[in-house]
Amino acid sequence: MTTIANDRPVGSSGEIVLSFRNVSKRFGATLAVDNVSVDVVKGEIHALVGENGAGKSTLVRILAGDHVPDQGVIEVNGRQVRFRHPDEAMTHGVGFVHQIPAFVPSLSVTENLMLGLPFKFRRAGLIVWSSEHESARRTLASVGLSIDPRKPLELLRPHERQLVAVARAMKHGSRIIVLDEVSASLSEPEVRMLFEKIKDLREQDVAVIYVSHRLGEIFEIADRVTIMRDGKRIATHEMSSISRRQVVNEIVGRNAEDLFRPKQRLSKRRGEARLVVRNLGDEKLNDISFELYPGEIVGVSGLGASGRSRLLRILFGAQRASRGDIRIDGEPCRFRHASDALAAGVALVTEDRIADGFVPTLPIWQNVTLPWSASYRHRGFMQIKKEMRDAERHCRTVGVRMPSIMAQMTQLSGGNQQKAIFARWISASVRVLLLDEPTHGVDIHSKAQIYDIIRGLARDGCAILMASSELEEFEALCDRVLILRDAWIADEIAGSEINKDKILHALLA
């Protein structure tokens, strides 16, 4: 019997079925997982918590074989393993259920359950569907689902799909099941039903790793919790011996070095509200109401898939809301397309600049002027010289380091790409600037520069709404932070109250 590497040994039934030993994984400059050791014992629900980017998902993905660790080993039932594919994990009895389960929606539930498995019932080499469906029905019943397994999976409700994913993991005979943010897309009663099944799994001596943002859930079902921060395992506790307050404190931690400038409260509310949002909602957001004033930087914080991006995309017209009212300087707005938003002075810097931030086949200058290219028309022709001059000037203003304005965007570093994207809005008549993860994948130096750009825009009277998963960012920039929790703005933190600790407490409340 191995000794348990965690802080506390777990009771007598503590047979270790899975252990991470000194696992590290580096991505470029960031150490995503830093020398982590965790043991998971048979028949426990082991929660894994931490803020965005704490390393939970990377750890899970290392287990699944999506990432190869730089260092350290994983042992399953005492044997060292290195999976190269989820299939291999399956055959070793490790099953995964992800936030959005991977299914083939058009196939039947039975076929999805058997995905990657050989069909058992055959006659003369042909599949005997009646027996397969019967077997699927029994498997589904074991997780409490009574649905027709012949149904196409796409007709199932979200929690039912989630349960099918659990059933699939069970069907493969998994003794270790990893549930990664499974409750994120489920409603309250659906979560409750799922929890009952998870507790059943524990009764069957299955080890469950439960990754979640929601502390409430963890205190409800977990036996032990491992807290991660900045890629490190901070601690592992028995749930019975720790308070919620302690867990939050360990998640937040203390940030030793403050890389960002002391807060400058340059931006101030001026005059009338620029953006007024009332009772905005759709299937994922509910009753969102807030105001945004000129010169103000307001943060939007939420955990996981809380709808931050969704909110910004709705305000920009890239996505429709089903209800609610948006006004800019008193004018009601119903944007049907991004061009309507731009015409009204609303701009968006998207989260994923590779996906929808810039056009890789156009040179830098054309990317900078892209939203305004039609305004460079003179008698039908583009005023290319003027365009290039403007682009060059804007790029210089925001400090893009580039070989030439004619160079390709792909020749720039991530930080400089992002600055070039900001250069679009620098002189434009932007009244409301929406920022979605403005410093995502950007080096620390560019980060500081981008903060300066944002502050500068606010100083010039732009109203800025910024969604971010980096809590320090709110501390460095924002006048107010809206807390997006349970699909609506549950809380608001303002002024000197804004700090990481406070925001996290509000998020986890």
Binding site: A338, T361, Q366, G380, I384, P403
Partner: protein, 335 residues
């Protein structure tokens, strides 16, 4: 005029006329590979068969023969630039030619009416393709294969699947047959069309938006570009030019063979793909396409002169298409 000056200034700036060619300070010599290939074809054929290959007749015949193909390929260039695919350009040419032939020989419609009808048919084909692709979000490949078949069926219907070679009016034949110093009318039509298209792609907001939409649709949409409009427009340009090319072809030949366009489909694509790696780094552009057409034409004619059998034409065009796409892929990986 001032506009003209502006464009010339731009062409002389380091960015040059072909956008992506200049990366930073060093010229990307790879974009000259097709030109070098073209030149070596001329040198090889010229050395082997100087009397025939380099004769004035042969050179003008290559020019004349390539013109209709080049007009079709220019239209296709718009569709490829916006990031879509149009397999129906050839069927549009067949249909345009058939419609023109039938109207002229069987209804006695004046030329203006015939030309307008063919143009309208081409635009309608493009609208149909464009709207099916954007509104119903059907892959362009499927849409344009379907539309091709529809058009070929209609071509056979209006022509009764027979060759039309009598009853063309003098005017109609003259419009396809006039020449200056043995260079035929279609070449001048091509120059006119290609210049306009090249200017549109390069010096107008529309051209910019087409390239942007072809480069990254989501990012273009986020930058306020009406991506769907650019896609529809590109299909309309291709459909229109396809049908017009069919009309010009028929007028030049003075006869119509139903479904003549089918044989032009592959060379059209080969030319455009070759053009996308000519003087540019993976960018579909008009000059490149025209060069591509004449490279293929030259290679085909040269091989025929050397005594290669007729099917060599297909072999050559197929090989060029594959090599050009490999070249494009390699260039993308290298960059």
């Amino acid at each position: 005029m001032s506009v003209n000056r502006e464009s010339r200034e731009d062409a002389s700036s380091p960015q040059g006329a072909w956008g992506a060619t200049w990366s930073t300070n060093n010229y990307d010599w790879g974009v000259l590979a097709p030109i070098i290939f073209f030149a070596s074809l001329i040198i090889i054929f010229g050395a082997l068969e100087p009397e025939i290959f380099l004769s004035r007749e042969n050179v003008t015949s290559i020019l004349n023969n390539g013109a209709v193909l080049a007009i079709m390929a220019c239209g296709l260039t718009f569709v490829l630039a916006v990031g879509e695919f149009d397999l129906s350009v050839a069927a549009a040419a067949s249909f345009g030619g058939a419609l023109a032939a039938v109207l002229v020989t069987q209804t006695g419609a004046p030329f203006a009416v015939t030309a307008l009808a063919v143009a309208a048919a081409g635009i309608a084909i493009g609208l149909l393709n464009g709207l099916l692709v954007t509104r119903f979000e059907i892959p362009a490949l499927i849409v344009t294969i379907g539309v091709s078949s529809l058009l070929d069926g209609m071509t056979l219907w209006v022509t009764g699947n027979s060759v039309i070679f009598t009853g063309f009016t003098e005017l109609f034949l003259w419009l396809g047959g006039w020449r200056i110093a043995s260079i035929q009318a279609p070449v001048f039509y091509l120059v006119f069309i290609a210049v306009i298209l090249a200017i549109v792609l390069r010096y107008t907001a529309t051209g910019r938006h087409i390239y942007a939409a072809g480069g990254n649709r989501a990012a273009s949409r986020m930058a306020g570009i009406r991506v769907e409009r650019q896609v529809v427009l590109a299909f309309v340009v291709a459909g229109f030019l396809g049908a017009i090319a069919g009309l010009i072809y028929t007028a030049r030949q003075g006869s119509l063979t139903p479904l003549f366009g089918t044989a032009l489909l592959l060379p059209t694509f080969a030319a455009a793909f070759l053009g996308s790696v000519t003087l540019a780094r993976r960018r579909f552009h008009i000059l490149g396409t025209v060069i591509g057409v004449y490279l293929i034409e030259t290679g085909t004619v040269g091989l025929l002169i050397l005594g290669a059998p007729a099917y060599t034409q297909q072999l050559f065009a197929g090989a060029v298409l594959i090599l050009a796409t490999i070249g494009a892929r390699y260039r993308r990986l290298a960059s």
